[in-house]
Symmetry: C2
Subunit: 722 residues, 2 copies
């Protein structure tokens, strides 16, 4: 049976995408590819999670990967004034039913043509099956357009609104994420016998292309985020190997995206090429936020941090691009916060939150980490505060409920959460007791319960609003009762087997502070006894430094934090960083700077949490933050914090807020839609060009920002102490 | 970039099956492919469920299809006396860890060779990723063999014993089910202008092959279970269309399996072939059971029923082979019962039960049908009774618990189950009220609860044993209290909105009888007032006739049932049936016999439940049934039931039980392992060649069958009345 010479057709069963006749489609109607909600994101998450490699081997995540349902059914009620020609493109095998009867599609052994739907009211149903990609549908007619108003079921007894995202070409079904590409040429190429070192000038991500490549043999590419790594050859974290047999010169691009600045190329003799270039793969995002100030070191930090965040923001928010390339809830949470001050790309936030959650049943914490489950809830609240997008909250709410249900089932008899044997209680890479009731975990859990109460209320789920609010209140009381030590002015670490662990670490106190759980007196106690107390164990990881510096800013220590930024992030710049690192210890000798987890070049030199200054400068110098959903209310509380002057822009859902400040003047231009409040200090009574300044304390003032698209100016005398 | 001319290798990432060097493998150790338990079965279920077509279009099931986890991890503790060479074959990308460290595999751009594992105690871990088939592993060394003792996790915090089944060739990973094939030649070929009618002599299943096919054009095949269907052309339920362009003669086989006896072939002019044959695809099963008797019509019924069951028993127990080709819990339940009296192939039962259940979360009833959920539980109990296989019960127990939990959550305030809007309350295609509390459903639910109590007890889950047993007892009391009408000697139909529906239908009474819920007095009432009462609405569907005839046998009505068999099944034989049908109404005119669901040839002429006589003759004439798990205790209660004589064989887990009976003699040869009890009637005191006969009632006797592999003979005088 000569398979290659015959085409045995399974009559009329379409199992591939077919090209389309697009006649009669109104181009103003934007039809998009639709799918079972979240299923493209979950499928994509599986694909990208498997790109991590170690020395050429796969390095799969150690959490369950869920993917798309294979058997789904779309439906749409139609009301047609006249007959309409409907054209379909489907990823998968499919069948169409109109008003309960199968609609035979014209079939003439050529691409699908459109079918005529008669005038009148109809229910259109399309059943789709696909088990190697996301079952998806594109439908377009004169008035008919597939979009999020279509419903879909995976045959679980529920109809949901279909999901969709940026796929609107009927010939390109949802598959690999549609990135942007840019060709980048090396800034330097150094050749030696049998080896070439290529430098692209800064950290980057994507493919390497050989032009006019010819000959026969093997090319080995050793990627380096540092020159040292590229030169280390087999010791480099990532490498590729290409087998070539080209008699005519042609181009060749490497098969997998890599993160690197340098590439060492070792080619067998006889292989030649004209040049090497790089296809930079990236998510196109507008840089809506900005920050410039009197300190050039800080300006450079801001720029390098933006590149760090740009590179780690792709299909999802990744931790770092060289090694894990995984989606981690804690890392992503910090990326979301930074993203809100620079790109304000909320689509990637949504994709990331969906991917992290997976499907029911919940058997494990997100990323297996208890605290990462709670960061997921907290991220949702942040998202809502910045966007006001209740529709997304609503679509995620069932998944929130089942994840919270999982948590509630794991409470101990005192209503608190302890790690199960299979759980990872993380908090930080640091010496601490992680068994039993860890106070920091309870604080995050409590916040998650409050958020569930809030969302339940917003979505009209009164029973759960009451339930979660009550649970949160009880838990908060219990936390304070058990762990708050008024005398020592700090939270104690935890409790194990009924015995309080009275060690004082920074985590619970700084968490309580940032969650707003402390009154003024408690905040001051915590500031003095914990945050600024040199005898408390220092935080050394960038992940927790993020929250620590944030907490220090919350208690007005911007000047101190600025100094830290200049030292820590400036230190990386001094070592040549073009993106910020997973970890940095200024005390380490140069030859150990790239070492991590016991391997010489394991450290990621482009790590999302390294971009923390974006968030800190945006929130605590520019001083802009939403105070109600979607920036409907917001605060502008600028602070020089060690600078002579700065000017910053913060993006919002509906416009930007620009802030300038020096010692004598604050200028705020806002075309955000909500109501803002400018809060500032001045040694003398300030003057303004608009509105009425209110004094709210000694040397403290407020001004309502209510005129749309208006440039407010306030004359101040800035306290010298700051 | 000339893709076809280069091989851009992603270094050392194996994503396909690699051939193996099998040196040093002890062939006595049977390594098998292993996978996450149930995942091959679920993946396979998805594949086969999509084979249903209607007029060339897909016809996907209307229930959720779950599939394999893509990201799994196997582990095995090793204790090697000397170093051992381990050879791996993997379906998916993989990486090996030994004692926590990655084990680089030799990689020389050729098939995987074995790696050396040093002597001593080790933990071997293999992480596998595959999202388009079942991630699976085959490992073999001198002593190392992949099998069900390996553990596997989908990263949900639990390690389970790996699943495996009949795949033991390292070069053939688990994919399409490995069926057997046989070439079948037509018994008749009739040619007319432009068309050929081929008759394969009986209902069959598989592919059609053209030998020495040559020319250019289209061949259309119209399959017919009846000659009428094949001749109906486009009206036939299934058809194929082949595009041919062969300049040299060659063979061609159709692409999809079909169920048929006849094929009409219409070929374009210029196409020629030497002959047509058929590749019969089947599950190889030993026909361990048998039945022969004095009535040739019954003998023929038994043979045709065996073929019906053979054809519908494939990857799973299917309803019928032409149309649905789906796995339905109710249909499968009856197939299991028949299988126990003929093939005793328990692997297909296990596969079917696993496929039906899918994965968590449970959102809907099995096949969306409430009663089908209960049949699933009851099937498990039957399976256990016949096999004593507690290991399978144990591995399925978590899935039983979550399905029962789903049921328990749906009880109303009286602890009974009513259909939710998305549920299908089926029972039977018949006029009846299906809303509210349907008595028949509560009886099945009650039995399911009892079974859960039994299994919980066997598995040492004491809490649930008590819980389910209590729930079952409460429910049983409530059912009798509400629905048992002592005066009318029958169960009432149900209750809707608090109001009893006092209609008497056969279902609840016959269910209660077959579940053993009735005492002798109640059984007699039900027999007289319901089962043998001509004024009660007749059961017309073969599905429910199955249970009705069973119930009639339970009350000793074998002679009546024999008459029914001769009429109903014999009626189909008279119409030329070579397998039994989905439905048969002797009153219908011939031209409507193949009509169903409003289509002229929709009726399946090879439908599993049509084989009911296999079960009835085995259980109620031969009279063999297990009375404790795995036939450790069994009963032999033969009955002539209208026959002059019969001889039958019933397979058990560990041997066969052969029974002969005529009016003067019962002979039982048993090499089953358990303890049997022969129960029979005789007008005179019987004699035996072994053991002591006990009288248990007037003319009723018992004899213990304890001698292994012994031929017992009992002389009786059979009551003339029977």
């Amino acid at each position: 049976m000569a398979e290659s010479r015959i085409r045995a057709v399974q009559a009329k069963v379409y199992i591939r995408i077919e090209a389309l006749e697009m006649d009669g489609i109104d181009k103003n109607h934007k039809a998009t590819w639709i799918w079972y909600p979240n299923d493209y994101e979950l499928w994509l998450h599986v694909q990208v999670s498997m790109k991590r490699q170690f020395r050429g081997y796969i390095c799969p995540p150690f959490w369950r990967m869920d993917t798309a349902y294979s058997n789904v059914m779309f439906r749409k009620k139609l009301k047609l004034e006249r007959p309409e020609s409907l054209t379909l493109s489907v990823q998968g095998a499919f069948v169409v039913h109109l008003d309960g009867s199968m609609l035979p599609m014209p079939y003439e052994r050529k691409p699908i043509t459109s079918v005529l739907i008669p005038a009148g009211e109809h229910e259109l149903v399309v059943k789709v099956f696909m088990d190697t990609a996301v079952p998806a549908l594109y439908a377009a007619g004169e008035t008919i357009t597939s979009d999020g108003t279509w419903e879909v079921t995976c045959h679980n007894g529920q109809w949901l609104n279909a999901g969709s995202d940026r796929f609107d070409d009927p010939a390109s079904p949802p598959g690999a994420f549609p990135f942007a590409y840019e060709t980048v040429h090396p800034v330097h190429v150094a050749k030696a016998k049998g080896t070439v070192l290529v430098d692209f000038g800064q950290e980057t991500f994507g493919y390497v292309t050989f032009l006019e490549l010819k000959g026969r043999g093997v090319i080995r590419l050793y990627y380096g985020e540092s020159m040292e790594e590229a030169l280390a050859g087999e010791e480099a974290e990532t490498s590729d190997e290409l087998e070539i047999d080209f008699t005519e010169p042609q181009s060749l691009t490497t098969p997998v995206t890599r993160a690197f600045r340098y590439v060492q190329i070792r080619a067998d003799e006889g292989l030649t090429w004209q040049s090497v270039q790089h296809e930079y793969e990236y998510l196109p995002m507008e840089r809506r936020g900005s920050f410039r100030c009197s300190d050039e070191r800080i300006n450079r930090i801001w720029e390098v941090a933006v590149r760090t965040l740009q590179l780690t923001t792709m299909e999802f928010m990744y931790d770092g691009m060289k090694r894990d390339r995984w989606v981690w809830s804690g890392d992503a949470y910090q990326s979301f916060m930074m993203n809100n001050y620079v790109f304000f790309d909320q689509a990637v936030t949504r994709r990331t939150l969906v991917a992290l959650r997976g499907k029911d049943p919940v058997n494990m914490h997100i990323n297996t980490i208890m605290d990462y489950t709670f960061y997921w809830f907290i991220s949702y609240h942040d998202y809502y505060l910045h966007t006001g997008d209740l529709a997304f909250i609503s679509s995620s709410y069932p998944n929130m409920l089942s994840l919270m249900e999982f948590c509630l089932k794991r409470r101990n008899t005192d209503g608190m959460m302890e790690g199960y044997p299979e759980d990872w209680v993380f908090i930080d890479w640091a010496d601490m007791e992680k068994r039993g009731e860890v106070c920091a975990e309870q604080l995050l859990f409590c916040r998650s319960l409050e958020i569930m109460g809030t969302f339940a209320g917003l979505l009209g789920d009164g029973g759960n609003e009451q339930k979660f609010t009550d649970l949160a209140q009880e838990l908060r009381s219990r936390i304070f009762e058990l762990f708050w030590d008024e005398e020592r002015g700090a939270f104690l670490h935890g409790r194990l087997d009924g015995k309080i662990n009275d060690r004082i670490l920074k985590y619970p106190s700084m968490f309580a502070l940032r969650l707003g759980y402390l009154n003024n007196a408690q905040s001051e106690l915590v500031a003095r006894n914990v945050l600024l107390n040199e005898s408390v164990q220092k935080i050394t990881t960038p992940f927790m430094r993020y929250f620590e510096l944030e907490a220090l800013c919350e208690i007005g220590q911007q000047t101190h934090v600025l100094h830290e930024m200049r030292e820590y992030w400036g230190g990386m710049l001094d070592l040549g960083a073009t993106t910020f690192w997973e970890e940095y210890d200024p005390g380490q000798p140069a030859e150990l700077q790239y070492d991590m987890y016991g391997d010489k070049y394991r450290k990621s030199l482009c790590h999302a949490w390294g971009a923390a200054p974006l968030y800190l400068l945006g929130k605590y110098w520019t001083g802009v933050r939403p105070e109600a959903s979607g920036y409907s209310q917001y605060r502008v509380e600028p602070c020089l914090g060690g600078l002579e002057w700065f000017e910053g822009t913060v993006p919002t859902q509906d416009g930007e807020i620009k802030v300038f400040m020096d010692r004598s003047r604050i200028a705020v231009f806002t075309n955000a839609v909500g109501v803002g409040t400018l809060r500032f200090k001045s040694e003398t009574y300030p003057e303004t060009n608009e509105g009425e300044i209110r004094q709210i304390g000694s040397g403290e003032y407020e001004l309502e920002l209510v005129r749309p698209a208006f440039a407010y100016e306030v004359r101040i005398k800035h306290p010298i102490s700051e």
